[in-house]
């Protein structure tokens, strides 16, 4: 988005509403095929969405709905096939282009930037990040949010919003684009009835204005209510498109499921008589994040399902049972109490957890199938702590055969297996551990139909072997076919329990959905008091640091009155000027989630370069120009290597740092070259006891602070630092933003070098080297989030003054030279620990 007018607002401006012919094709997908290794996600799919209609897309998890919409929105390239939006062909898989053609998508996982405000998110979403746009953004955003009556303050940070509120922000953002085609992916998961009705009103307004809406949902009643036409997708193929009035709910469900239930599932415990008397898992009064006062009892041999609309505490509950989430209350396994909130204790007691996030939590992707199978039961394949590869091979080959895992060998990397086979490896590992309690979260998510059957058999087999099995699933058919008993959760409580013949998909859905209608919303985040919201803001560390600085000054001053002399204060402020520049330099890259270890050596190099030209009889101008060129070059090389080849910024800047260090000692191995007094006298100018250069440094930092909040550069930098993937989805050129951040950082080292060379007066490369640490100390003290996206340059100013003050302390108190090292080290680590704790407290 480099042009002054954002391409998408421009494109939309070109599409006056009266140009759209009612009933004309708004979105046409033809012959879309897309394969992933081992899976055909979409096979020759065609979809035609007309202007002015709500077109529902229904299907099970993994049926290909989201993949299809990823193709439509330019996020994913099809292998074969064509996407036409509003009569114009999508020429490349580019979200930007799709948006330019008038397609807006609201995904289940909103593309929001957690560290930015709601208003900034909306502004970026519609491409209004130029200066005026950002200034007006809060009011404009508030106007878009108020109709939803969700109590969302446009000035609050997205990370402080509840899940429902975030979703509404995402919808508001899409609507603000005035799209020609709006795709809503499971939009009502997080909304209560009133909110759903408000959404439907907005959808009808849109279609009345001849926009098209693609509505993805698995809630059939809702689909019947809102949709004009319905397309059913199953296993990557279209199973038909119908007028909504022509089909009944049960007909739709039949098409969606497409299989006879009883052939797929193994017999339940009641039929097989495999239910034992023993109460294996007992939970009383369990409370935690998003669930309250849960009591449950599961017998040995029993499979119990946890159902409910997503986000009602089910995930947190099952993770708490596995000891991964903290919880209070009581839990017993086999009659013995288990310590809560400890994954080690839960595992020891025999609880085995099968996570839903298979890639992140389930498997060890780079390791082999064999290693993955035995990882939980290493003792079995070892003697005296020493592992036998032969034993691993034997055990894993047996499991590969028994669980019908399709893999070339046990030494294949698990990453090359299909989702279903990876899940079977996870289950094989689980069974090897002989679980007393098996906790499975969405065990068949993203698994093809064939493997699904195997997985059901495995889970039932575990129960028959005596385990108590708890399954969390969003698939009603699966719960009906597999579970002996199902509990339904809503708002963190168990609201219903179904048993025996009552365990049917319809009953589960009814219980989940009727309870949802009871769901009332207490204003999720009550507007925080002014003090609290200030404490959560970027500027609070600055005030705290200022207070610490004053206390420290008072303490040192009482011990040595010379501390308050104008001379000494002037010295502190002078040293602070360098720290403000170098700290700001580091802050810029860190804000974009980078890191630069080369600032110190670059500083030294610039000083050395200056010592050849900025001397008596030399050309000051040439010296300064060379310094700028060197800074630009280093920043560019850093940024280029990091962005172009996606290399680790720490390694790149470490290598560059040491390369620079070598270079500068090559240029000047011993100190030399007296810096001309023409420059030093300017740098040393004071007003009263205050060095002018310090005022300049403060002004620059304030300028950066302003730019960070009010310019596109600043917002995009914070966006990339906050969530790179979301920033990319929003059409921000993240690589360019990162590259520029490294260049800006290096440029900010330039003024630091001018001050440092004036201070030491000679071309010496050594003093500058320690400034890498100084920059990090200042940054950490300023309370900047080292993971990017947050921080303030005002904090940098105060932190720099504090650090300058601390560095002077040993001299005034007559402490040994060791304190010159200890103080910055202890303060850096101490502040990092303190802020990490604060962040944790803020979160909970």
């Amino acid at each position: 988005m480099s042009s002054p007018t954002s391409p998408l607002t421009a494109a939309i401006a070109l599409l006056p509403e009266d140009e759209i012919v009612p009933g004309s094709s708004a979105l046409a997908l033809t012959g879309i095929t897309r394969t992933f290794p081992g899976v055909t996600a979409l096979a020759d799919v065609g979809l035609d969405v007309r202007a002015g209609e709500v077109h529902a897309l229904v299907g099970e998890n993994g049926a290909g709905k989201s993949t299809l919409m990823a193709v439509a929105s330019g996020a994913l390239a099809p292998d074969i096939g064509e996407v036409v939006i509003g009569g114009r062909r999508l020429t490349s898989a580019s979200p930007d282009e799709a948006r330019g053609l008038g397609l807006a998508i609201v995904r289940q996982d909103p593309a929001l930037l957690p560290d930015l405000t709601v208003a900034e998110n909306l502004a970026i979403g519609v491409g209004q990040t130029r200066r005026g746009g950002l200034k007006r953004a809060p009011r404009w955003a508030q106007e878009h949010l108020d109709p939803w009556q969700m109590g969302i303050d446009a000035r609050s940070r997205v990370s402080d919003l509840s899940v429902e509120q975030r979703f509404v922000v995402e919808i508001a953002k899409a609507l603000a684009l005035k799209p020609r085609v709006l795709v809503l992916d499971e939009p009502t998961e997080h909304l209560n009835n009133d909110e759903v009705q408000r959404l439907f009103r907005r959808v009808r307004e849109l279609t009345a204005a001849q926009a098209a809406v693609v509505y993805i949902s698995h809630r059939i009643p809702e689909v019947k209510e809102i949709a004009d036409r319905i397309t059913v997708l199953r296993d990557g193929r279209v199973r038909g498109t119908f007028e909504a009035d022509d089909v009944s709910e049960s007909q739709i469900i039949e098409l969606v499921v497409g299989r006879a239930l009883d052939t797929v599932f193994p017999p339940k415990s009641a039929e097989a008589g495999s239910l034992r008397e023993e109460e294996r898992l007992a939970v009383r009064g369990l409370s935690g994040r998003h669930f309250h006062d849960i009591s449950l009892s599961v017998k040995s041999g029993e499979i119990i399902g946890i159902a409910g609309v997503q986000g009602n505490g089910q995930e947190e509950l099952i993770r708490a049972l596995a000891g991964i989430e903290p919880a209070t209350g009581a839990m017993e396994i086999g009659g013995r109490p288990v310590k809560l909130g400890s994954h080690v204790a839960a595992a020891k007691a025999g609880a085995v957890y099968v996570p839903s996030d298979r890639h992140g939590e389930g498997v060890f992707l780079p390791l082999t199938v064999g290693e993955n199978i035995v990882m939980k039961t290493l003792r079995r394949v070892s003697r005296g702590g020493i592992i036998s590869d032969r034993a691993i091979e034997e055990v894993s080959r047996e499991q590969i055969a028994r669980q019908a895992i399709k893999t070339p060998s046990d030494r294949t990397a698990i990453s090359s297996l299909s989702g279903g086979n990876q899940q079977k490896v996870v289950l094989a590992r689980t069974l090897l551990a002989e679980p007393r309690v098996l906790l499975a979260e969405e065990p068949t998510q993203g698994v093809d139909a064939g493997a699904r059957v195997d997985i059901y058999t495995i889970l039932r087999g575990a129960a028959d072997d005596g385990a108590a099995v708890v399954i969390l699933s969003s698939d009603g058919v699966e719960l009906e076919g597999l579970c002996d008993r199902v509990v339904i959760m809503s708002r963190g409580h168990i609201v219903a329990e179904l048993e025996g013949d009552a365990v049917t998909e319809a009953e589960i859905a009814r219980a989940a959905l009727t309870s949802t209608t009871m769901r009332t919303r207490e204003d999720a985040t009550p507007r925080a008091s002014r003090l609290r919201s200030w404490l959560r803001g970027d500027h609070s560390p600055a005030a705290v640091l200022g207070l610490v600085a004053l206390l420290l000054a008072a303490f040192v001053g009482l011990n040595n009155p010379a501390y308050f002399s104008p001379f000494s204060l002037g010295n502190i402020l002078f040293a602070a000027s360098m720290l403000i520049f170098i700290g700001s330099a580091q802050q810029v890259v860190v804000m974009g989630s980078g890191f630069d270890l080369s600032v110190g050596p670059l500083l030294s190099l610039l000083v050395v370069i200056a010592s050849f030209h900025v001397v008596e009889g030399g050309s000051i101008l040439v010296g300064l120009v060379l310094m700028v060129i060197a800074a630009l070059a280093v920043g560019f090389v850093n940024g280029f290597l990091i962005t172009r080849f996606s290399l680790n910024p720490i390694v790149v800047t470490l290598a560059i740092a040491l390369g620079l260090q070598g270079t500068l000692f090559l240029i000047r191995s011993t100190p030399g070259g007296i810096i001309t007094s023409d420059v030093t006298s300017v740098i040393f100018t004071k007003i009263g006891f205050v060095p002018v250069i310090t005022l300049v440094a403060i002004a620059v930092a304030l300028g950066l602070e302003w730019a960070l909040r009010r310019t596109r550069w600043g917002v995009e930098l914070r966006a990339v630092g906050s969530r790179r993937d979301a920033a990319l989805r929003l059409g921000i050129n993240a690589n360019r933003v990162t590259l520029v951040s490294y260049v800006v950082t290096s440029l900010l080292v330039m003024p630091t070098a001018v001050i440092l060379m004036s201070q030491i007066g000679i071309g010496d490369g050594r003093p500058g080297l320690s400034f890498t640490l100084s920059s990090v100390t200042v940054l950490v003290l300023a309370g900047a989030s080292i993971f990017g996206g947050r921080g303030s340059f005002i904090g940098i100013i105060v932190a720099a003054i504090l650090v300058a003050q601390i560095l002077g302390v040993p001299t005034f108190l007559g402490l040994s030279g060791a304190w010159g090292y200890w103080l910055p080290g202890v303060i850096t680590v101490g502040a990092a620990v303190l802020y990490a704790q604060l962040r944790r407290i803020r979160k909970s």
């Binding site: 839960a346 939590e361 780079p366 070892s382 592992i387 080849f645 680790n648 090292y821 680590v829 990092a832």
Partner: protein, 334 residues
Amino acid sequence: MSTVDMKMDPRWKRLLSGGSGAIWIATIALFAASPLVASGSLSEAAVLGMLPFAAVLAIAAIGQTLVVQQRGLDLSVPGMLAFGAALVSGLPQWYGWAPELAIAAAIVLPAIAGLINGVIITRFGVMPLVVTLGMNVILLGTVFAISSGTPAGSPAVLAQFAKGKLGLVPNAVIVAVVVIGVAGFIAHRSIVGRRLTAIGVSERAATALGIRVTLYQTMAYALAGAAYGVASILYTGYVTTPPLFFGDSYLLPTVAAVVLGGTALTGGRAALVSTGVAALFLTQLGQLLRAVGWPEPLQLVAQASVLLAVVLLRELVPSIARAVAERRRLAVAS
């Protein structure tokens, strides 16, 4: 990413993109080329002079590998090495400790410093970079305090051992081989090693399995500290009076050795033995450049370039292979 593994010739892929075989070949090639570049660079005196430094770097790099395996990067290497050296030389000289006690202290105290790193990183969730950077200066300050600013000399026993040879092999090399051997055995063959690998690959997956993630990670940092201690003891014994802050020149080489050895900076499998070989490679490279007459600062530039080149190669080869595989996949699809 998955199809690549199967379609590309596995030997080439492993060699270029992450496996540890490449460094063996590179090292052999370097030694073969050495006499051609500078005659005498492979003479007995030259090799025997180089090996103890390779041993020191290898042991220190083992420590760095353990940290990198846990997705960290240890910037406290300079401080740790200086700390160990100050303990083993300063304690006997300034405080009259027995050499054996000083040697023990020079292993145990850096290990404790590593333990503190680990606890702060795992318990308090602070970024490893910040903690180790801070720990580095704290240790340098401690070195300053122990020595009052003056380097001390190695105890005579230690110097004798470190300069000694068993037959033709310098004792330092034997120590390095034993350290690498034990570390490599633990990493590849023991339950502890496999769990460390698992945690390095995915903390979350390891947590889901009930592995004591924080305990193992903390242990990795402590073991790294102990390795730095051993390296500093050998160095002190060999050079007799090490400069106070000699460790500064070891930070980049340890990282370079890890990367060259094939351990990914994203954590996971640790190629400890290859790290040792890479240390030998880097030391011989330095020796060779010195023999050709390159000044010391240029060595830094050379090391930095080698590191960047290898990191680049490891990134480029798989992505080119991915592109080839994607093209093939599309060809099959249409």
